[in-house]
């Protein structure tokens, strides 16, 4: 499953592919290493 993530610390946006079966994983911003990484809601068409 592809997720759109946004770091609420530095503003960096990126996408990751996750496997819901594998459970939750710690989100870390690849740029600033903050954990304040928000999963952006899917945009309604």
């Amino acid at each position: 499953m592809e997720e759109q993530l946004k770091c609420l610390h530095c503003g960096f946006e990126y996408k990751v592919t996750t496997d819901p079966k594998k459970g939750l994983h710690e989100r870390v911003c690849p740029k600033c290493k903050s954990n304040s990484v928000r999963r952006l809601p899917e945009k309604k068409e």
């Binding site: 609420l8 710690e26 954990n35 928000r38 809601p41």
Partner: protein, 819 residues
């Protein structure tokens, strides 16, 4: 009942110059004196020292204090000291509130006395606000049943049972197979000592069989477990053997006459057994049984030749499974592992080519007690193989087909097997294809050297394919030797696949019965991988052997001893002191939605959703994380000692004055609070604008706490806890993360920048990171405008008022409810 008049004593510690050096403690004391319900405010040079404690006791008596606030070092250091102190003076220990003005203030604001003093005054104010709402708490006393259940009769279960029984405890050892012994009983020799496996294990099996304090329940399974630490009730199904093992004298006449011939599982299918059989010659209990699944039938009896042949008349073809219930105080899970089945790897031709076998099959082929009586032959023509290949890491260290982890034992097992072949036939040519050889244990490198010295060739590279010569049944193996970078081809008589270990297929069911979790590799999750490696997260349950991770015999036995010792500590206690910080349910508010039960990492909440009878807390199982209280949409759950009212009072106290200058920071007791302590001890400086609120777990931080902080004008809020996977409460912080996601969406909907809520996982070792985060939060705080703070206050206050008027549940379910 009349409300008790609050009489709070505040004790401000100088800690020599540790606090007084950068905080004006007299000003803090004077400020505390003016706080509501404070009867007396005292300054001590060293509050933790005997004179300081004596002073607290004296003031409690003189001023008839009923709440005590100590503002000194971190509660992680001296909370228990001061709890004992106030208890000695006749107060309930939970009427103490301790707060840190050292690690979280004086030591991190060394060069700004004015700001440090201002912050210390706030810290005391926050503590007094909480102290006003403290209630006496009582640690539960739980009686302990002096008996243990050991599930699994392999070497780990055997060792754990013997250790516990020798220590004087009653043990119920449950083994699903007709005999104990496990995988070790099937091995020929053990590494690195090359001992005969059954010669080492057999005497221990016998000891189990005749130990007066071990009740061996062979051919049995655990059906259900209820209760909690110290008081488990276990329901065990004892499958019918159809032979009375107490009478059977193992004459074997039943097997002689039995007409049903089946593959012998113990011999890996290389020989046969009858439907009337004994698991293996050294089996314990030493008795035959009837394999009713393959017997010609007992309803009605179709054959009965075994009954006729049995002189002891101990066969009853109408025997039934029996259900037994036992009560135990501790449970050791030692159910072992399964061996990887390489049939799915087409390239190696296992099951297609007769002379491709697994390492477990090899054990039986070379064992003196095996189908060939120890003569090594290959399956296709029963000739002695002269050229034998071993392929390592089959089913291990692969992401695609198999398992990603190293199975720990396969390298040394192959080294051992190569030496066994050389003992049988020194001229045999042996090639081992490997990725890495992991010879890390005591005596392992010596054994590997012996193997190389004996002429065994180790080729670095795994074959891509095995092909069979249809005439000779020889095997052609092509491999890239990565040491020489050449493609090499080998013509071999037999290939042994060194298969890895994996979690038992039946483990899921047991996990559900015992409420256990697994790590990403599928093995059972420990309470803490370093500090409590044999404890399950569920109190009173321990692990031994490969059920926790792949390991060799020595490590399994070591872990079994550790699990027995941990269980023994528990069983030796007449009573257990239970956690005082627990959830309680208001049944009038509870609507039995079941969310609390779903989020509780300990299975401590029981809800009958259909009966709508309300949630019940299994007090002995509740560890006090507070996730249930944070997730309950009906505010039906109160966390004792960390109630909503207490936390909200802290937030309001922190933000009563100059809220725009303050950052509200929620810290979990075990990691992020400890990281703050480390920052303090290391004198890492950061701006003084943060106000810390401690909860036992980040999972306790209710959505309403964060919204209240914004409503009261906080520019920025930090939610912090242990890293995922390190949570002191198993997985409670997963709910923190989900809640943060939900809150960010909610804030955005309300028109509040989600960036104002920050989330950070900070381990107890990350003091520097803690300080850095505090500095960054201050930068963030300065960017929040007065207008947006005012807007946030207004919109959240409006929403709260609306919700109070219309107490109907919010527009969306919690994540937990959606699961």
């Amino acid at each position: 009942m009349a409300e008790e008049e609050l009489r709070i004593g505040v004790f401000v510690c100088d800690c020599g110059l540790n606090i007084a050096g950068s905080v004006d403690t007299e000003e803090v004391r004077l400020s505390a004196e003016k706080l509501p319900d404070v009867t007396v405010s005292v300054r001590n040079r060293y509050t933790c020292a005997d004179p300081g404690q004596a002073e607290i006791k004296r003031y409690i008596k003189e001023y008839n204090l009923n709440r005590v606030v100590v503002a000194s070092c971190t509660p992680r250091l001296h909370e228990s000291t001061f709890r004992k102190c106030v208890e000695d003076a006749g107060l309930n220990p939970y009427l103490l509130e301790m707060t840190s003005i050292r690690e979280h203030c004086s030591w991190v604001h060394l060069y700004d006395r004015e700001s440090a003093t201002k912050k210390a005054k706030d810290i005391v104010k926050i503590a007094v606000a909480r102290a006003r709402l403290l209630q006496p708490q009582h640690e539960m006393e739980i009686p302990v049943t002096d008996a243990a259940l050991v599930i699994g009769g392999g070497v780990a279960g055997i060792q754990a049972a013997l250790d516990l029984a020798d220590a004087g405890h009653q043990v119920y050892l449950v083994e699903e197979k007709p005999s104990i012994g496990g995988i070790m009983a099937e091995l020929d020799k053990t590494f690195p000592t090359m001992d005969c496996s059954i010669c080492v294990l057999g005497p221990k099996m016998m000891d189990v069989g005749r130990h007066p304090r071990i009740n061996l329940m062979d051919y049995s399974t655990v059906e259900s477990v209820s209760g909690y630490v110290g008081n488990f009730k276990v329901r065990i199904r004892r499958k019918a053997r159809y032979v009375d093992e107490t009478v059977c004298n193992v004459c074997g006449k039943c097997a002689e006459v039995c007409p049903v011939v089946l593959p012998d599982e113990f011999q890996q299918g290389f020989s046969s057994r009858k439907a009337a059989y004994i698991a293996f010659p050294q089996a314990v209990p030493s008795a035959f049984l009837i394999d009713m699944e393959h017997c010609l039938g007992n309803k009605p009896v179709a054959c009965a030749k075994c009954m006729d042949a049995c002189e002891k008349k101990c066969i009853d073809l109408h025997a039934q499974d029996r259900i037994t219930e036992v009560e135990v105080g501790a449970i050791i899970v030692a159910t072992g592992m399964d061996v990887y089945d390489p049939a799915q790897l087409d390239e190696y031709g296992y099951t297609l080519f007769e002379n491709v076998i697994t390492s477990m099959e090899f054990e039986r082929l070379i064992c003196g007690g095996g189908p060939t009586e120890g003569h090594l032959v290959r399956p296709s023509d029963h000739k002695t193989p002269k050229r034998i290949g071993f392929i390592q890491c089959v089913g291990s260290r692969t992401e695609n087909r198999g398992n990603p982890y190293c199975s720990n034992v396969c390298c040394m097992n192959t080294v051992k097997d190569s030496l066994l072949i050389k003992e049988h036939d020194p001229e045999a040519e042996i090639v081992v294809f490997y990725m890495d050889i992991r010879a890390f244990g005591k005596g392992f490198e010596d054994l590997l050297r012996r193997s190389r010295d004996a002429g065994v060739r180790y080729i670095r590279g795994l074959p891509g394919e095995i092909r069979e010569d249809p005439v000779t049944k020889n095997l052609l193996v092509k491999v890239e030797n990565t040491t020489t970078s050449r493609i090499e081809q080998y013509d071999l008589d037999m290939v042994v696949l060194s298969v890895g270990m994996e979690p038992k297929a039946s483990l899921k069911k047991l996990m559900s019965v015992l409420n256990l979790s697994q790590t990403s590799d599928g093995f059972l999750m420990e309470a803490h991988p370093k500090l409590r490696p044999v404890d399950a997260p569920t109190p009173g349950i321990f692990y031994a052997g490969c059920v926790e991770a792949p390991k060799d015999i020595k490590d399994s036995v070591t872990q079994a001893g550790a699990a027995a010792a941990r269980s023994s500590i528990l069983l030796n206690s007449a009573v257990l002191k239970g956690e005082a910080i627990k959830a309680i349910v208001d049944l009038e508010k509870c609507n039995s939605c079941g969310v609390c039960a779903r989020v509780c990492p300990y299975g401590a909440m029981k809800v009958d959703i259909k009966a709508k009878s309300g949630a019940q807390v299994v007090a002995a199982a509740c560890a006090g994380c507070g996730t249930c209280a944070a997730e309950c949409r009906f505010d039906a759950i109160t966390m004792q000692h960390f109630s909503d009212a207490q936390v909200l009072a802290q937030i309001e106290a922190a933000l009563e004055n100059d809220p725009e200058q303050k950052i509200i920071t929620f810290l979990c007791n075990w990691c992020s609070y400890a990281a703050g302590d480390l920052a303090g001890v290391s004198r890492m400086q950061f701006p003084p604008n943060n106000r810390f609120i401690r909860t036992m777990c980040s999972g306790r931080v209710d959505e309403s706490f964060i919204l209240r902080a914004f409503e009261k004008g906080a520019p920025v809020v930090l939610l912090s806890g242990c890293h995922l996977g390190d949570c002191h409460y198993i997985s409670a912080n997963h709910w923190t993360m989900r809640r943060a996601d939900k809150l960010w969406n909610k804030l955005e909907k309300l028109g509040i920048r989600p960036e104002r809520l920050q989330l950070e996982w900070i381990s107890a070792a990350e003091g520097a990171r803690f300080a850095q985060i505090m500095r960054e939060l201050e930068e963030m705080r300065q960017k929040v405008t007065v207008d947006e703070m005012a807007y946030g206050r207004k919109v959240i206050a409006e929403q709260r008022r609306k919700a109070e008027k219309e107490p109907e549940v919010e527009d969306e379910l919690t994540d937990a409810a959606k699961v």
